[in-house]
Symmetry: C3
Subunit: 345 residues, 3 copies
């Protein structure tokens, strides 16, 4: 059995070990499917009942769960983050294979670091720069003057329009489109006039961008994604948006143009945020919420309605249409007018 000992992990990651320091783990597994040699973790109380039956060799968990753990444990106040680091150590990213694939089309005026990897059929235009140990996946297209920072990985089929700048250690997933024109149109008497989208797009360090997400370039100034922002799949970010550091945004969120999102925000799935708003730091927004005004105070916000059985829901919706009248009826009752003017319901 290969792998690494629990003692080594405890020392390397600064976590407390309960159990045999010479026991070895070779990979990760879920609590439910773990076997001998597996490392697993408990970070969501939903899965606590699986702890006592786990067949793992060791579990990363928080102190409060230690007494229920039937096997060795790596104990940390933040077991999910500790697990993440250990899992990345046990299952490292594939190594970068330095060099440009023969089938890639790289303009002679692009600058590709010698340690970078450019995959098959990638296209890199004049003036683009790819940093040390960066990976440009198969079929990616980098426009003129695009900058990709060191250690950043673009999966296959990422598109960067001209002059997009991506920082270091970012991960950009397939189908992502960075720097397309914002939705700028001006109404004229005989139709729409396109407003040229002349700004850029700057993405900080340690940013992850999920598959098929789109981030538009600015109309005049740049769209800006700050350091350590985490975007899930199919997020849409309009022109001139600024997203503060460490903000995390779940899938299918849409953020309209010129809105500023603070740092350390958490935005749930399918949230829609209107344009030209300010969202403060440390705001959390629950899934499927519409934000149509600025949120100036930290806190948690929602406007979503949970699913109900349809006939019951339709009754609620029908009543909702008469809510305004109901307020009037109650007011009339409060003023002593017992009977209704006319039957309403």
């Amino acid at each position: 059995m290969e792998g690494v000992t629990l003692g080594q992990l405890a020392a390397r990651f600064g976590v407390l070990l309960r159990g045999d320091p010479d026991a070895r783990v070779t990979g990760v597994a879920t609590l439910e499917n773990a076997r001998r040699g597996s490392l697993t973790f408990l970070a969501n109380s939903r899965y606590r009942r699986q702890l006592e039956n786990t067949a793992a060799t060791a579990v990363v968990l928080e102190p409060a769960d230690l007494e229920r753990c039937p096997v060795a444990a790596l104990v940390d106040a933040n077991p999910y983050a500790a697990y993440a680091r250990i899992a990345a150590f046990l299952h490292p990213e594939p190594a970068v294979t330095a060099g440009v694939h023969a089938s890639a089309v790289v303009d002679g005026r692009a600058r590709i670091a010698a340690s970078a990897e450019v995959g098959p059929l990638a296209v890199i235009a004049a003036g683009a720069e790819v940093g040390e140990r960066a990976v440009i996946g198969a079929g990616c297209v980098l426009g003129e003057g695009v900058q990709i920072g060191a250690d950043t990985r673009l999966a296959a089929q990422v598109t960067c329009y001209d002059r997009v700048r991506v920082g270091e250690r970012c991960v950009i997933h397939s189908g992502v489109v960075l720097g397309a024109d914002g939705f700028g149109i001006a109404r004229d008497v005989d139709g729409w006039v396109k407003v040229p989208q002349l700004g850029g797009l700057r993405i900080g360090n340690d940013v992850e961008i999920g598959a098929n997400t789109t981030i538009d370039r600015g109309a005049i100034d740049d769209t800006v994604i700050e350091d350590d922002v985490r975007l899930d799949n199919q997020v849409q970010i309009g022109h001139n948006v600024r997203i503060g550091a460490h903000t995390a945004i779940a899938g299918c969120v849409g953020i309209s143009g010129s809105t500023t999102i603070g740092s350390n925000c958490m935005i749930g799935g399918a949230v829609g945020i209107a344009g030209h708003l300010e969202i403060a730091d440390n705001v959390a927004i629950l899934g499927l919420t519409l934000v149509s005004r600025s949120l100036n105070e930290p806190g948690t916000y929602s406007s979503s309605l949970p699913a109900a059985e349809v006939s019951q829901w339709r009754r609620t919706v029908a009543r909702l249409r008469h809510l305004d009248e109901l307020f009037d009826r109650v007011r009339r009752l409060e003023h002593g007018a017992g009977g209704p003017e006319r039957e309403r319901t």
Copy 2:
């Protein structure tokens, strides 16, 4: 006139024919635009009024509509399915052109069936397997160890990350991204830590996946799409999700991580389903609904509100903000306190 006779169609597809068995049809058309030689169908009562004026040669319809049909009819209890089969017979898919296009970049360690077609500028990595008569469209990228089953067709520009497995007879549309990393991030004191996404993605047989849909790989175990699941465009499916057989999901739906959807479910457009939930078999969810709790019983669910004229709607929304107070006011009235403490409206 070429084509096929109604008698042949009736025999081949096991439907009842009313009319001349030697009449011929050459292709399909809508009820409204059908001409001599057209086969059309009636499966949605919305279009019933168009039946009596159709110029089609024959109509596929259910027995109840037969008496209103002015032309020949192919009668079946399920006319839409019967139409689908006949249309596929009249308009077959283009034949597979076996072979690998000279411009494709196929690793020597990939195994491509001799009868499969690999289009121009596709990229296929080491260890990938492409089954008999499968089609890999132009510009597709298949990562290491990807498996594509027999008779499956990938349209142009599909991306499969490493180790994604797709079954037989599937149709995957352009822009689909299969097996990207799930949105796994752990909060630590100084920012986010990426949680390695080490699981796979398994897609069953007879699955169709619409354009620009994304399905993430599992964090540890696999994300699983069972047989005969049908996904429309721009659906987002998070890591560790399982979707049961025969479930159909309309466009723009988002399903968060670790949720299990039963079989034979119908999920309407733009529905959002939170993570770590269980949705029973035979659940239907209407469009734009938020599902934030498990749905353990079959049935139809909704939480969407239908559009209203905006000034009227704003009045409802304003009242809604005072709904809690209204309950209190009614309770006070019920207890005999007629007049309001203070005027509220």
Copy 3:
């Protein structure tokens, strides 16, 4: 200093000049960041307070704002459209580089205008036609018989399925998928039957389509996007939809199959429109609204709820579940039954 004089701009664009006709501008900037040589504009009252401190050389604005403007002004009743035209003049699109890149894979039976540009690694199938001065970006895939009109620009990585037709002067952004199969499935006893999607997709002139937007081909007849339609990113348009001229649709909107949208409509972000509906001309729909019935009258519609602080919102949602009962309780009060049958709240 190069650039163009204000006098030249006033003459060319038919706007009124207040200020020195020999002053020169070299490019555009925001009111806030403008410097000497910048042209800027004021078209949104939100930014009016920035006008008096602007360091721009000139501002495009409407007559009412003229007196507050501390610098030269180009005055027009529609300053945003005037700005758009002037900005396009100051910052023209890159010139078309006629010719087919050596790495593109173009079928010998495709017809590419001599003045058109085909980028690296594009794939163009038999029978496709690319018009004069059209641009096909890197990595685009045009299926058989696709027609791209004169002066239309496809950014990198656009996919057009067979027989899609795009008009003149369109702009199609990266990741767009045109003409994929509509979501046509027929339920049968043992699962789903795919309904062949045999129609086409026709896109008019002067249409702009945002990144990762998808528009499906028709089931039998064509899906149709009329002239001067403007679509933002990640819009999903189902089969057989028709969208009328000059309609603008913001990001993340989903339109289900067989719905007809009128001309000059404005559809906000993340709106969902059900299938088989008719939306009249000149309808505006606010963001995150669900449209589940036809809208036959021009006007503005909404069904979205604005974000509230979560504990307050949960109270409203809890009350909403009892709304139906509340109506009954009020009716009982109106009929003189003061006390509740049983305590409810």
